[in-house]
């Protein structure tokens, strides 16, 4: 369901539509919030508050750009008011209050969220192998020893994981994510000269 129909259902008081929206954008928003707050619990609360506020004010909100950017805007404002509220416990200083995310940032959050959803779908043993290789930087040999399987199994399972993830992800996500990478490279160039 596209955002516009989700939104009109929310406005008419449909809680299921709110859940729909939540499940669609939860990971992206959480990731962005936790990156700036460095506090997972707080990120959790800030994101939840956005959806609660969105619901409470649904009759008064005019979505000008897109629902997605509106959610980021709300989240950003939540961070600002959170900071005002908790002047005693320094959660983040004003430098850490993020600007509204650019299109490229939003797109890369989408990419990460999509990836996370996709790895959930990989069968457990295969996922375990991938996680040991990517997150723990173990070699194929180390993984084989740890899981008591052959190196050859690790090899083919790794191949299948990458193949699966590539097929599972929206081609559009790859395209938009690559824009970010190009930009990064462009930024890096002057400093290396």
């Amino acid at each position: 369901m596209d955002d516009q129909s989700i939104w009109s259902r929310i406005v008419s008081g449909d809680v299921a539509a709110l859940r729909n929206l939540h499940d669609k954008y939860y990971y992206q928003l959480w990731l962005w919030a936790s990156k700036h707050t460095h506090n997972e619990t707080l990120a959790e609360e800030l994101v939840a508050d956005c959806f609660i506020k969105l619901w409470e004010r649904r009759k008064h909100i005019l979505i000008e750009k897109s629902l997605k950017s509106y959610l980021y805007l709300m989240l950003r404002n939540q961070m600002v008011s959170q900071q005002r509220k908790s002047k005693k416990q320094i959660v983040f200083n004003s430098e850490n209050i993020p600007d509204l995310p650019e299109e490229t940032t939003i797109n890369s959050q989408d990419f990460y969220a999509g990836l996370y959803r996709a790895i959930q779908k990989i069968p457990e043993q295969r996922r375990k192998i991938l996680e040991l290789a990517v997150f723990d930087s173990l070699t194929y040999n180390e993984i084989a020893t740890r899981l008591n399987i052959s190196v050859n199994t690790v090899k083919t399972q790794m191949g299948r994981s990458y193949q699966f993830l590539k097929e599972e992800l929206d081609p559009k996500n790859f395209l938009l994510f690559s824009l970010l990478q190009k930009k990064r490279k462009a930024l890096k160039l002057p400093s290396t000269n």
Binding site: Y140, M158, G159, Y162
Partner: protein
């Protein structure tokens, strides 16, 4: 890539993780000439990079998040038939200007309260569980039980609100503030209680209300068209007649002034438009205005109109990190 698909994927993964021996590496290099293999390799590089970021999400909890939201968000089925009741509901307007604290909350500890905060520059509108309709003005905090129990309907306000109370003869509706309690039996009313202002006022449009002190003891009753003013430190309440329309039009997005001075108007504008207003000279506050402001119009229009009416000038300074500042000067 063709029949050897699976094998090439093994090579791609091996390449990314530095696990290829030289023979495998040759095979990989050969395969990469093929555009679709190259494409898959590029995508896999992005996957590898993205996975590290995505891993952060292990610490998130989507279901817990939704459960937290669900607790706050309740479908107001009562909304559907409340309009029918409202037709018969009497209307009462209560306006307070005073500080506020949650009095007598401990009387019923098991009741869960929801709190709603309206940002400056915004208004809110909601239905309570019993069918009561509430409009909240800018900068208000409103506290209400998630579910009314059998014996009472008590709500708390700091700021300004208009209530249309769903009638229920057996269950009084009470609005509480620091200094007052307004008791209603099946009627509608508006509450406003901004902190930092000395007096409170209650305006009754229709029906009948009883004013109590914070302990619930009766002070007096009001009839429609009356304005009751309670000033801090003064135990008495002054009652006079007034046009309720002046006190309730805000909920329809209109603000009406009748000879109100600029100092008071500026205070209200600060709340509606979320700006800070400063005066170049104290005596500028004494200009009196009569007229109507439409709140859904941008502030510029309001300013322009006021500049036409009085020899004053508004200077608007836009600030990115804080409130915009308006300075009022003599022209």
């Amino acid at each position: 890539m063709n029949k050897n698909d699976q094998y090439y994927w093994d090579l791609i993964a091996g390449k990314l993780h530095n696990e290829l021996d030289s023979a495998e590496n040759d095979l990989f290099e050969k395969g990469i000439d093929d555009p679709s293999t190259r494409n898959n390799y590029t995508k896999s590089q992005k996957i590898q990079e993205g996975l590290k970021e995505a891993q952060q999400l292990e610490k998130s909890d989507k279901n817990a998040s939704w459960n937290a939201i669900k607790r706050q968000v309740r479908v107001n089925t009562i909304q559907l038939y409340s309009r029918k009741f409202l037709k018969y509901a009497a209307i009462l307007v209560v306006a307070f200007v005073a500080g506020f604290y949650f009095h007598s909350l401990n009387k019923n500890k098991q009741v869960q309260y929801a709190e709603m905060e309206i940002m400056y520059g915004q208004t809110g509108h909601l239905f309570l569980f019993d069918g009561t309709e509430v409009w909240l003005n800018s900068g208000s905090k409103f506290r209400y039980p998630n579910q009314f129990n059998i014996n009472e309907r008590d709500v708390f306000i700091e700021g300004e609100a208009f209530f249309k109370v769903a009638p229920n003869e057996h269950l009084p509706f009470k609005v509480k503030t620091e200094q007052l309690e307004i008791e209603v039996l099946g009627t509608s009313f508006n509450v406003s209680a901004y902190p930092g202002e000395a007096s409170q006022s209650v305006v009754l449009v229709e029906g009948k209300v009883q004013l109590n002190n914070p302990d619930g003891k009766k002070i007096g009753e009001m009839i429609p068209g009356q304005l009751a003013v309670k000033t801090e430190g003064d135990p008495k309440i002054r009652v006079q007649s007034a046009d309720p329309y002046f006190y309730t039009s805000w909920k329809d997005g209109k603000v009406i002034f009748d000879g109100e001075n600029l100092g008071e108007i500026a205070k209200k504008m600060e709340r509606w438009y979320n700006v800070e207003i400063r005066f170049d000279a104290e005596n500028l506050k004494d200009f009196k205005f009569t007229g109507t402001i439409l709140r859904n119009k941008p502030i510029d229009q309001t300013i322009n109109a006021m500049e036409l009416l009085a020899p004053i000038q508004f200077n608007y300074v836009v600030k990115t990190e804080e409130k915009n500042i308006i300075t009022i000067q003599k022209r």
